[in-house]
Symmetry: C2
Subunit: 222 residues, 2 copies
């Protein structure tokens, strides 16, 4: 169950003498998940978003580097992506999507639409490169982008600033930054699914128990 | 497109002077994905399975350690799991599922069914522990289990040995080992989805573009 965050203003947060961790477990044990969600997703927490964005390159590196190519170069069929392609796509996003769009919002607001994102732009990014090189490049670009983001010193009120997406219309900085993080997760989710696909017959009768093999939630880029 | 691996016997593999990497890219560029899949998923490659199993603890560690609890302690609603729960579940599998079942196959074959797996066994595993402790414990147990697996020196013909699953009936060692790896992926896939869920409103109109937010492929344990 998910309740819109806006229903409980900051001033109505329940004060608690417990640590966050203890409170989480307490709430969970009482089945008060919905209440807890209501409080914690109330407003976009930029440091939390940055924490996640910081970790994605290392997580993909730990998962993919030097893995046999059975896992990293195969996809789910025609016009689908391998984990190698996904890392290329993430690199392309670092170069052309997130920070360029953030700068557009700060500079032009709603008056100028973002450039459309090229969902096949990774083909250019990956040509002649190894997966190890791509993982290095993604880590470097992400680190540079997060340094730039931190240096901007965005305040909570800045997150409400508005820009214009070429297809979606008006969007906020908060939505852009949250999407950057969830975009990482959508591709981590995709990488796990693509790799699992390679063994969908190999697991035999267990295939019906493995959620990843039932997933049809194909990722679309932002 | 996925063709059953068995359709092309080993002897009919196309000899190739190219390195695997070059061949992969060549095949991909010609749209010969199906052919390549056909060849490479033909038989269970145990070293490839072990390569993946080796990496999961480090990948989850890189993603989750010291991340704000907004990401790691929240779930998708009642009776669903947080990333913290998932790591507990993976620990429980290391203790009671994979290697114990493998030993059962080697010792009893089809004559004795595996003990059913307790899908809420992680509640006991996680009590009073921090996520950091769970990540350490998962890494240690996985490492010990893979050492034991390597020490068994299983040959290709051993992978055809048969055991009895309490619900699925006859299964092979090959299927058990492949399932161990895909089970890691199903839970990585789940962790990405559960984390993304926390921002499903925060991303605003982008939610329709983010595949992970459309996923309904809930994981079931083995």
């Amino acid at each position: 169950m998910f309740l819109p965050a806006i229903w409980l203003p900051i001033g109505q947060r329940r004060p608690s003498p417990l640590t966050q961790a203890t409170e989480n477990r307490y709430n969970r044990s009482l089945g008060e998940i919905a209440t807890y969600e209501l409080e914690s997703t109330m407003e976009h927490n930029l440091p939390h978003t940055i924490s996640l964005l910081t970790r994605t390159p290392a997580a993909l590196d730990a998962l993919l580097r030097d893995l046999p190519e059975t896992w990293t170069f195969q996809n789910e069929g025609e016009k689908t992506w391998s984990p190698f392609d996904v890392v290329g796509h993430l690199i392309h996003g670092e170069r052309t999507d997130w920070m360029p769009r953030l700068r557009m919002v700060l500079q032009f607001g709603e008056t100028q639409a973002f450039a459309p994102f090229d969902r096949w732009g990774h083909v250019r990014e990956t040509q002649g490169k190894s997966l190890g090189q791509l993982l290095d490049e993604f880590a470097r670009l992400r680190s540079e982008n997060l340094s730039e983001l931190r240096a901007l010193g965005l305040r909570q009120e800045d997150l409400a600033r508005r820009g214009r997406h070429p297809a979606l219309g008006i969007v906020t900085l908060s939505e852009l930054l949250a999407t950057w993080a969830v975009h990482d997760l959508t591709h981590l989710h995709q990488v796990a699914r693509v790799m699992a696909h390679q063994y969908r017959e190999t697991v035999g009768p267990w295939n019906r128990y493995l959620g990843v093999l039932q997933c049809t939630g194909h990722s679309s880029p932002s």
